[in-house]
Subunit: 334 residues, 2 copies
Amino acid sequence: MLKFNEQKQVDDIQGALNLRPHVEHIVDKICKKGYDNIFYLGIGGTYASALQAETYIKGHSNLPVYVQHAAEYYTTGNRRLTKDSLVILSSVTGTTEEVVKAVNEIEKVGATLVGFIDTKDTPLAESCDYVITYPAPGTEQIKFFMVADRLMNNNGDFPDYEEYYAELEGHLAKGLVEAEKQADTFGQAFAEKHRHDTMHYFIGAGNQWGGVYSYAMCYWEEQSWLRSKSIHAAEFLHGTLEIVDETTPVTLFLGEDEQRPLAERVKKLLPRICGNYTFIDSKDYPIEGISEKNRGRVLSHLLMHCVTQRIDAHVEKLNCHPLDIRRYYRQFEY
Amino acid sequence: MLKFNEQKQVDDIQGALNLRPHVEHIVDKICKKGYDNIFYLGIGGTYASALQAETYIKGHSNLPVYVQHAAEYYTTGNRRLTKDSLVILSSVTGTTEEVVKAVNEIEKVGATLVGFIDTKDTPLAESCDYVITYPAPGTEQIKFFMVADRLMNNNGDFPDYEEYYAELEGHLAKGLVEAEKQADTFGQAFAEKHRHDTMHYFIGAGNQWGGVYSYAMCYWEEQSWLRSKSIHAAEFLHGTLEIVDETTPVTLFLGEDEQRPLAERVKKLLPRICGNYTFIDSKDYPIEGISEKNRGRVLSHLLMHCVTQRIDAHVEKLNCHPLDIRRYYRQFEY
């Protein structure tokens, strides 16, 4: 299989889950001290992961959680982010310009900064009050959700927390690589069919919304240089549907969280107005050892990422376009 | 001028501003009773207006304000929306399916509902605790912002409130129709150049973000059946920029609120990577009698709407496509 190192992927996921005692120690200390608001700080891909964490927490608790865009923060500030707030962020390089600028401002306010910073001795690693360094691609969401889960557990919103993580630790890593193997044939067929699309529409709701937002922008546009648009399933029905016809390429991501009915409504409509649609449903990817009630919490967007990784690997090869080159980003100052 | 009834537009805006004593009476009663959180409820176009109101309040106060998507609400609920919450909504027909369903659920929770419902004796008019009926197209944002301004005034965040509204009442209506006249030549040229674009990108920040979101989706896609994508100025630099080249049609909206620097960053970059861009800057439209410091609060997105109305009027005529027909919406059940 293209770009697939099974053992490394298993080790990466397992290693991310093994960060849990460290995450719990940090979150418990913060909860003991108390906090007023929770902010997931991000930009681009990390903004999308922040959207997922926020949707997840809002769906399961009444904790005061917000997504804070890093560039908006250093431009305007946010009076609800105070010295008593908790800010969670993630960065591979530790040098993302907008995040560095936002964190510099947040330091002046005095909020508590928890950073998953994958490169040591970088500006972001130095600025955070608590740093976890675990450089493994594809584990950002697990890290963000681990913080969310512990916060909710401490808030009394997640009584099955230990049982849930026992399932993940026992079965998630293996389950995800098996799903990726299962998805490879589909990924290749999808890549062959859509790799020259002049525009591709991606639709999703719930945790899938951050997923499709990031997939359209950070993968198709940024990495594959393919034009695409993401639209929330609930919003698709209030405008975008009007430009869909027989030939429009549309892909709907269906997850298993509490917003699934919003995606199902689009699923019912699409075949009546479009002849070029695809449904990707996380339910089609069973994972042994993870109970039905726990699948919706975490699996939908991780499974979807397994599927899209297969598409991307084939697009990269077929389109002769290395995914790590950029036309403009970090090529010159702007 | 096409589709332009100067006296009616002046009367509509003036009439919306004249609702202020009514709005103040309602907001003052709610403030006296107290509230925990403020929710602007919407879907599609009203969701976009809600985004603008939220950005505006967040930029000027620490009030606990949220955008609540109507379909997400009836699908999942929101534990932060309680019997002590204030919910503000707007509807032309009073029958928007998703909003009716959301409001039915909110009534059970017992939150206070303030509705700008333009049709009497409709489900939404009946459900709201306070209803203002003033059917004049293009005044939704003025209504939403009037509530926001009074809430902020009562919270001590807007000491110049009276002076500000004196300026608007004296000069806004006339200023906006003058701006629309000024924009007509540009609107026609833009329509002629772009009315067959296979895809058009709209970029904005701050209050312009809700504006470009709505313009791309509710006007280009829904009304003109033209393909378009909106992207926040800060996010454009983290993905979407990579698919821009010489021929890509890109339009940047520049407003005058506190997020203007985010749009200016894109303004600096675009000419280096694109040969088919347009800047629409609200600063190019002077309004007599409104002071510099007050322009940013309200004018940016209202002025932008004056400009885009001119584009739409010409696109409608040139493309022989009536803006009020729909392929799918309300044509059949889905």
